[in-house]
Symmetry: C2
Subunit: 348 residues, 2 copies
């Protein structure tokens, strides 16, 4: 008798197996432009980008954010990285009996502020209550829709100046040999902040979650142009996201460890906890695949934004294949494989 385990929800290869073996078997097969089986950040039907994300972070309040900010930013970012402009959200609250209404109010206020920051609106919702159990207060599902925007059209025009390109959205399968890989900032803050706060670790410093909506920064990158694919880093961190790209695009990716931005305190915390920062999730960082001719310009635009000021070019697509290779700090290269799951459960 096979049972669901925490790792099935940790966003790595075990989650992927569960979805491919069971969910797609029954729910795949629609004829929309970007369907479920693309397993991309969101789906597309009639030029509308649709996304649903359930947020089960524990604890619900953590340094640098809370479940409310996460619930808005997570869905906004998934829509934005497709190249769309997120517009309207729907929220489904699962509240636990005994949750303090003042805590719910703090969460709602945080959602409101994050909506303002992202210029999106919650237009519908639903509230259910369940008996006190293991949720830790509440779970919030956020769905949302986004629309094609002129910035995406402009971006695709620039891509087509440099190579033949027929894709209409920034899909995981769009990378080609030669493309440069950029990251918008330092990795691992969100996961480490959750871990420290959940278990009360003293990490000798304050690591705050980077949770943030990135849609406005993304729009300005599209206006520069030349971007072929974008992904936000969540469960399983950079290692997971790069492997998804590699697998879906059928390419080998080389990344240089020395160029991957990581804060000293995050690095120290990961060493202390015995986890690999490359597998730890963020909630306010993206990786970007850019035609090589435009990489410097996109990087410059990224660094103009507060949320992208530590951006770096971290690697490139080296050829056809299915491997992610890490050029290590200590010297030598190794395969950067897809984690079975994020080492920290329930980070989002």
């Amino acid at each position: 008798m096979d049972l669901i385990t925490m790792t099935h929800g940790a966003g790595g290869s075990l989650t992927d197996d569960l979805i491919k073996k069971y969910v797609l078997k029954y729910l795949g097969g629609s004829d929309v432009e970007v369907p479920l089986e693309a397993l991309d950040d969101a789906a597309v039907i009639r030029d509308i980008v649709l996304k649903s994300d359930s947020h089960a972070v524990k604890p619900i309040f953590f340094p640098g954010g809370d479940i409310g900010r996460l619930a808005i930013a997570g869905t906004v970012n998934d829509i934005a990285v497709m190249g769309a402009e997120p517009k309207a959200l729907a929220t489904g609250f699962i509240l636990e009996e005994g949750l303090e209404i003042s805590d719910l109010e703090r969460i709602l206020q945080s959602m409101m502020l994050t909506c303002k920051e992202a210029e999106v609106s919650v237009i519908t919702g639903d509230t259910k209550v369940v008996e006190k159990g293991a949720l830790g207060g509440c779970v919030i599902n956020t769905s949302g829709i986004g629309f094609r925007c002129s910035a995406l059209e402009r971006n695709l025009e620039v891509v087509r100046e440099y190579r033949s390109f027929t894709k209409r959205w920034l899909l995981d399968s769009n990378l080609r040999p030669g493309d440069k890989i950029l990251i918008s900032g330092s990795i691992g803050e969100h996961g480490v902040a959750i871990m420290a706060s959940r278990y009360g670790y003293d990490l000798g410093g304050k690591v705050e979650s980077d949770v943030a909506p990135l849609n406005k920064m993304i729009k300005s990158l599209l206006e520069v142009g030349g971007i072929v694919s974008m992904k936000d880093l969540t469960r399983g961190g950079l290692a997971n996201a790069l492997n998804e790209w590699s697998e879906k695009s059928g390419v080998n990716i080389l990344v240089h460890e020395e160029d991957i931005p990581i804060r000293k305190d995050v690095k120290a915390a990961c060493e202390m906890l015995g986890i690999d920062p490359l597998q730890v999730g963020n909630e306010g960082k993206i990786i970007i695949g850019v035609v090589p001719e435009m990489a410097d310009e996109v990087l410059r635009e990224l660094r103009r934004h507060r949320k992208g000021r530590d951006a770096q070019v971290i690697g490139e697509v080296t050829g056809k294949g299915r491997m992610v290779i890490l050029d290590t700090l200590v010297g030598g290269r190794r395969i950067l494989s897809r984690p079975v799951g994020d080492p920290i459960p329930r980070i989002c």
Copy 2:
């Protein structure tokens, strides 16, 4: 210190208070066509109907259905009663550690079959896992989008033949004095089936849930025309739905108890359990407000469908006001007030 209670999630006046006092305070204020503060079955932006519903039914398998069928039908029906054609869904699974994968597979299969019945597709989704607690296996959020359809246009044309009418969707606020109130079938089956199955009551017969997608039946009703408003009966049952109509349309509604279809076994079960069948939820029934000239034709069309064969005209809008009046079986009239919450928690 105020705490969330089970009744806050039971869909009656306490849920309404929570949403008006807290959720709307922070998340209201968007400028879309049908916004959050309409508190209607779904929202509308740029002619797209958007809906999100979390399904926390307990137990996850019950006579006549399961959480998978409920999760598809619930969202499909909420979109359809606005007058739109549901097209694409997004599912967010919250799975409990220890859930048997074979049970997940049964649920997915049921979702697939219900999608086929409703002719909708799941196009994106998300899966999270939480520690074993009080969920009873899983919670499923289903969001979805629907589009304007020619049947809605045809329906509105017929309405305008009989009265001036500028609304573009079938809103809760559309009723006017003279409108007839129809119900598509008998009440209370879903709630009673859940109650019996949860507590192992022997109700001297087998009451099955009526959970079903109604969008195809609804489309054929729109083709007949003359419908001004529609609502599906869920938490809080007929009493809740009628009071929502009355409040939002600013009208008094009179319903005749003798015309409300109710199965003998459901009635007996409610008497045994000491609950009012008018407050017990369904998941496969709608109420329909129709211009009086078209009531008979809409009724005839309803009865042509298996899911509408027990349909009845149960009342009418009597004038401006905010009351629902029940013309009782025993004689005399009484106010049918809005329940504080559905007498059966976690029915959907």
